[in-house]
């Protein structure tokens, strides 16, 4: 949950977009661009997903 983009070797913006798209498809949610830009770690993505689904 604390994992940040910086912690993943070879991570890049395309990987990040693919990851976000996969999460959106899996959970049927759609994040705002500003949130996508600023998610600091995996935990923040989980939290936002839960917030949208609530």
């Amino acid at each position: 949950m604390e994992t940040r983009r910086e912690d993943v070797p070879n991570w890049d913006s395309f990987n990040y977009i693919n990851f976000i798209v996969a999460v959106e498809m899996e959970f049927g949610v759609k994040f705002k661009v500003a949130d996508i830009e600023s998610f600091p770690n995996v935990g923040a993505i989980v939290k936002e997903t839960q917030k949208i689904l609530a």
């Binding site: 910086e6 070879n10 890049d12 913006s13 395309f14 990987n15 977009i17 661009v33 830009e37």
Partner: protein, 489 residues
Amino acid sequence: MLAERTFTEADQERFAAVTGDRNPMHLDPVLARRTQAGAPAVHGVHLLLWGLDALARAEPALPPMRRLRAQFKHFATTGERIAVTATRMEAGVRLDFIAAGVTVAQLVTDFGAPVEAPEPLSGEAIPAPAEARDLSFDAMAAMSGRLAFASPPDALAAMFPAASGWLGSRRVAALGATTLLVGMVCPGLHSIYAGLTVEACDEPVSEDRLSFRVTATEPRFRSVSMTVAGGGLKGAVQSYARTPPTPQASVKDLAGAVEPGEFKGATALIIGGSRGLGEVTAKLLAAGGAKVAISYRVGGADAEAAAREIRSAGGVCETLAYDASLPADPQLAGLGEAPTHAYYFATPTIFRAQSALFARARLNAFLDVYVDGFLNLAEALRARRRDVSLFYPSSVFVAERPRGMLEYSMAKAAGETLCAEMNEAWAPLHVTVERLPRLRTDQTASVIGVSPPSPAGPLLAVVRETQSWPRKAETGPALAAPLQTASAG
């Protein structure tokens, strides 16, 4: 390792001529420097076909390919050494393309018999375009058609004979047609080819065309997904519509922020003034009445365009070619008069993926420009005018040190130290140093639709501080400027 090579401009030209993908990001060093690649990018499909050819040469008895998935993760540029490695997998082979320790592309082939043939190709016949189309993002959603191969299949097969022997020349040609599609048709001019997944199939009717249809667009990421079929392949292509080169504010837009005549009497030299932060600085100065000279290394046309705009708004502007890695003095010989002020925005490509924590060669490349180049310029200007006022753009990254930016941060820190020394040893010459945040330029463009803030505001503060030197009477700390100066940095 399966193979290793460096792609040259001649290689790019040859591949572009056969596939028809003449997108300038692959061929034009001046335009390519305004893309996220920063330099001519090797076509992703060129990497892919080179790797498949090397694989087929190394293993002549490969089983038939059933499926191929490729991801183009980072730009590979001309002049870079690129290695391809092969890893056997349960049902196929994985190829990794590596530059400077980073996997720039990855390809997985699965072996097996061809899958069921698709329906015959349909849609409007589209000839291979001579120039890349410049579509709006909205227009891309409705794109479909049957795109003609740019050359007969045998032409590309001749470049990759082993791959053609394994896959068939028509499939090799169809792979080539996918780069024609992405680079020239949709998304076209401002495109990034992100990847493809295709399956081998029989062709209902042999036709030298690739049928395509856009299946999804996502404006948040500017992504464009397409289905493709033709030449014995069917599958999907993933691409992005790059944001076009970042336009900066016009002189007219900036004039409102500057007092009329605020910088009158000054003659300012802007190194790297043809685009980005240098361009905005030049326009701000000119809007305030300064005579400006903007330098360019390769972007002469960009510099002339900026100069024309300044002149048409009533300003005075000249242009000169200047390479920060060469001695400054002879390059400044053509200047009309000795600059009272100079702004130094020369920079190599800043963002580039690398796997190592620290790369000495990369640090050296930054030091050449951020330290040696600046020192060289300051010496030459000081010889003309002892109280010249200079601006050195440092970066918040010196303190923040984001991942992958170590060498950049180190070189900027070294530049700050040099400036502090100059201010002590070479007064009345003065260097203003400011740690700039990430601002909107070609180099900071992102595929996600949020861009950094406009540089106009932060740069106006920088210009006002730099233009306030030389100061007639120093009154000690009470005169402390709102911006950080080198001795304080």
